[in-house]
Symmetry: C2
Subunit: 201 residues, 2 copies
């Protein structure tokens, strides 16, 4: 693996496990067994490293998405279900400080990232909904583009401490409730039985 890639993988792991503020460039260099100087040759500061870590994680998620699509490409409910499981695994493995640090101190980086990937992610969901409509799983009068946009919007706000303070709400449960309600809302009578079977706890 290229040095840069190795740094991104290690730094991502450390940020996700311990939060962003609590990890220094020194500690990242040390854990990689490299000098601070080598680290700074690749990333001129922590913000730059974090920005590229977020891109790195996104690329990793895209690989996973491709794998899921290869395996279940013609089954939109299974694709939603696999993503659903994947997100729950990710939420449960992230240190709460990672999300609150991102919101409090690096919001500009996160917003820029989300914005740059927004249309691509919405298009992916729209495609799955359209496929579900063609298969009779989802209602014909569902506007796939509008609902895809609405749910992506809701997902982005799920971490908002204003609406879901993390001391009172489990992120997993919020995600589960919103996702399941979103998919059930689109389902036809035939689709509903399939959704409830697939997503039962």
């Amino acid at each position: 693996m290229e040095v840069k890639e190795r740094i991104l993988e290690q730094a991502s792991q450390m940020f996700l496990r311990f939060g962003i503020r609590s990890i220094t460039m020194d500690e990242i260099a040390e854990s990689l067994g490299m000098s601070k100087r080598t680290l700074y040759e690749h990333f001129s500061n922590k913000e730059e490293l974090l920005t590229e870590c977020i891109e790195f994680q996104y690329r990793e998620n895209l690989k996973l998405r491709d794998d899921i699509e290869k395996a279940f490409g013609d089954d939109p409910l299974e694709i939603f279900h696999q993503h659903f499981r994947q997100v729950i695994i990710i939420i449960n493995s992230i240190h709460p400080s990672y999300i609150s640090d991102l919101q409090k101190y690096y919001g500009h980086i996160w917003r820029k990232h989300i914005k740059s990937k927004q249309e691509e992610n919405i298009a992916f969901t729209t495609e799955q909904i359209e496929r579900g409509k063609a298969q009779g799983i989802f209602r014909q009068d569902v506007d796939a583009d509008i609902l895809s946009r609405a749910v992506h919007m809701a997902m982005q706000l799920m971490g908002s401490p204003d609406i879901f303070p993390e001391t009172r709400y489990s992120r997993t449960e919020v995600f589960r409730q919103v996702t399941l309600n979103f998919i059930r809302g689109m389902a036809t009578a035939e689709g509903m039985a399939m959704v409830d079977e697939k997503f039962k706890a």
Copy 2:
């Protein structure tokens, strides 16, 4: 009617019909047949007038909500349906400039208002969902508080030009799609038939 109340009613109408920026304090005074000086005795500037207009409209909506609750208090689906119809009437009667002016130039006022009423509005929706669960219309595993928060969050963002640019999306259709999907998502098999009957186009 008290002078202040009369100003709020007239100014609200003018803002909603023509937008905020295009209406001056002069024009408001003139349309009320009062001097500019009298107007300024009640509201020291346009921002203050707008802030109180928003509160005035909110109070008017609360009256409507009370009427709806008095008439259909034990029928949560009908309450949702009446609100749904009411919001569509409001969306269709508002000049697009009112919303874009509010977002672009008076966002601080709007956000403060929304925030101050947020918990009260969420609690109202939560109560309807709980009633629907008790009646077997909505699923037992619906978390009324979480879904109520999520849908209020989505409603707030519906006007976001970033996600739903107003030249491409009809506000009415976005609202219709999101609301119907939200309610269907919660419905039991028995509830679903009632929802689809009530909300059919």
